[in-house]
Amino acid sequence: MNSRDKILATVKKHQPPLSQLPELPGVSGVRHLPEPRDGATPPGSPGRVGVPGAAPQATEDCTSVFISALEAIGGAVYIVPGFGEIADILRERYPDARRIVSGLPGPAGVAEHPEAIGDPHTLADVDLAVLPAHFGVAENGACWITEQQMLARALPFIAQHLALVFPRSSIVPDMHAAYDRIAALDAAAPYGFSTFIAGPSRTADIEQSLVLGAHGPASLTVFLVDEGLSEAGFF
């Protein structure tokens, strides 16, 4: 018997009686954040609306929770009406960036906007990558970006700095909602590779001192584009 069959046979012999999968929080249609009693937030309950970790409901709450979550892990967030503003802010934030690669047509003029990238090693000198993403997650500041949005899988990691752009309205409250969203996106366009990015690359391996910019980007700037642009069909 080869190793595969041997392993599978032993596992089958030893596995305990069937135990059913549990209901997942959030998927039953009832969000897991309890309704405040008498219209007030009960005292002594941390993590209510407006605090990262708790699951907010409305778009307004989602935006503010997303922003505080991402800022807490070292990211910067801008709410912008359009691409013009993105280019202005990037020029101001990264005045020394020489090579800028963009996956969006907007910041053209300040950036390369290639159709595709052959050898990822040619990206070694990219100072700033500007890429679209699908959505953000309010509870932890993570942004979901699929291979189709990256130009090359290596780009969001190899660039010295990273900017992500997505509609403000697309922020979801928590990871359960995120995976509901991912299932829908994936049904339309399956990804070969995809990632959540939450803040700049970081390490605290030396005496627990936090350092931003371990191997990946040393900074992350997220642009939340206000409704107008997404309605115009850019996303």
Partner: protein, 460 residues
């Protein structure tokens, strides 16, 4: 080969430098407190733990089906799936892939499984250079040591020591111990490796039976830098890392990093489903004792572990004895219940390296009954005749004393007399219990003696 020192002896070595022990203890407790803050911000935290534990319960009950499902899906996705019965087969598979490409150097991101299999040493003997790319792992690799913590591999090292190691190996200025500076030096050093190595090996945090994809979580981005620049990506995982469906990640990713470091999520949670155009992708599914472990009803649910290390950070013994005292790839309370499954004789000391306080079980995001398993392992180890020698002798005496009431009462009186009149006979170097302790004031009489005198006063 010198015999492996037991946990207590290694812990005694670690405890020679008291200020360092205090620093180690406080640093890890600080990480534990960050976990508490993060967990308390999620109102449904306990429900998440229950859900995660129940999902893993289901995984264990259908593991053979999920493994087959995963293999089929991953293969459809263009990934080559390998099966390794043990560490030797795992190492040989990795080596054969390297050989086929004529490659003698590669980068590797964090993988406790490859530590368990001693892959680096094996490949080194075959003339293959492995560069660990996680900063903490690179530090211990340069120092010639194994990681002392599964999430924070060089938590036992002071920044001055790391500065010294970098000075020697990377040419940083002598005496510079600034974490920002040293991290930047490592960034430049490792970037060159990422750009020049054609094979990257990564670990796996979660593999999804439904879709055949796998997820790798890092803060540094080193797994992604390696994998996306390499022609060949090899991912190695224990067979227990499977979860049924992608949506289950919603539960596990909410728990993992909050439990580990108090962050809401790792910087990168990368989902690999297909090799990129022109790339080769391999998955090695490793058993190495796990299928046998699954058959031990009392111990099987330790296979639920998601390697967050919350139990390390909270453990009063780990914090004060250091990861190396556990002499295994996975230290801490979870390592102490996993390791006897691999080798009961070699790891017989580990279930005794605990106060059984239960803090590990309280912080475990998948609700493994760690302290109860520690207690159960002690019994199994004693029954199988593997108990450490000093414990065996002490327990034989204890059995004799406790089985004879007359001897018990005499022993109690004698003990109290010794503690009162000649305390050095008890509190000396031969009695491990008193090494870091002061003697208590012995009572003049036992409860038994007191009750005989005063018991009647309470009646009526």
């Amino acid at each position: 080969m010198t015999p492996q020192k037991e946990h207590a002896a290694l812990a005694a070595d670690f405890n020679k430098d008291e200020p360092r022990v205090d620093w180690h203890d406080q640093t890890l407790w600080w990480v534990r407190r960050k976990r508490d803050v993060a967990a308390s911000k999620v109102p449904e935290w306990e429900r998440l733990r229950d859900t995660a534990s129940a999902i893993k319960e289901n995984v264990l009950s259908q593991l053979s089906e999920y493994l087959s499902q995963f293999e089929a899906a991953a293969t459809r996705n263009g990934i080559t799936v390998h099966w390794a019965a043990d560490a030797a087969e795992h190492n040989a598979i990795v080596h054969s892939i390297l050989q086929r490409h004529g490659i003698d150097r590669m980068v590797k991101s964090k993988s406790m499984l490859t530590e368990e299999c001693h892959l680096n040493e094996y490949l080194h003997e075959k003339g293959i250079e492995v560069i660990d790319t996680d900063l903490g792992e690179r530090v211990v690799q340069l120092a010639g040591e194994p990681p002392s913590h599964i999430v924070l591999p060089c938590i036992h090292k002071k920044k001055e020591e790391i500065g010294e190691i970098f000075h020697e190996h990377l040419g940083t200025p002598a005496g510079n111990a600034d974490p920002q500076f040293l991290t930047h030096a490592a960034r430049l050093h490792l970037r060159e490796k990422f750009l020049t190595r054609r094979v990257a090996l990564t670990g796996v945090n979660f593999a999804i039976a439904e879709t055949g994809e796998f997820v790798v979580c890092t803060n540094e981005g080193n797994a992604d830098m390696g994998a996306h620049l390499a022609d060949v990506h090899i991912a190695c995982m224990g067979i227990e890392k499977l979860i049924p469906q992608r949506r289950h990640l919603g539960v596990f990713l909410r728990l993992l990093t909050r439990s580990a470091t108090g962050q809401p999520i790792t910087t990168y949670s990368s989902h690999f489903r297909r090799p990129r155009q022109g790339q080769e992708m391999h998955i090695v599914l490793v058993d190495n004792g796990r299928s046998a472990h699954l058959g031990r009803a009392d111990f099987r649910n330790s296979l639920k572990c998601i390697r967050c290390a919350a139990c390390f950070n909270t453990c009063p013994v780990y914090r004060r004895s250091g990861g190396h005292s556990y002499h295994t790839a996975v230290a801490g309370p979870i390592g102490s219940i996993l390791s006897p499954n691999f080798d009961m004789k070699k790891n017989a000391d580990l279930p005794f390296a605990s106060t059984l306080c239960g803090s590990c079980s309280n912080v475990c995001p998948v609700k493994i009954d760690i302290h109860q398993q520690l207690y159960k392992w002690r019994q199994v180890i004693v029954q199988e005749g593997y108990a450490p020698a000093a414990k065996r002798a002490a327990m034989r005496t204890m059995t004799w004393v406790l089985s004879k009431p007359g001897v018990y009462h005499t022993a109690g009186r004698t003990g109290r007399w010794f503690m009162l009149h000649v305390p050095f006979m008890v509190n000396n170097g031969l009695n491990a219990w008193y090494r870091q302790r002061e003697m208590p004031e012995p009572p003049k009489q036992s409860f038994g003696e007191w009750y005989k005198k005063h018991g009647h006063e309470q009646q009526g």
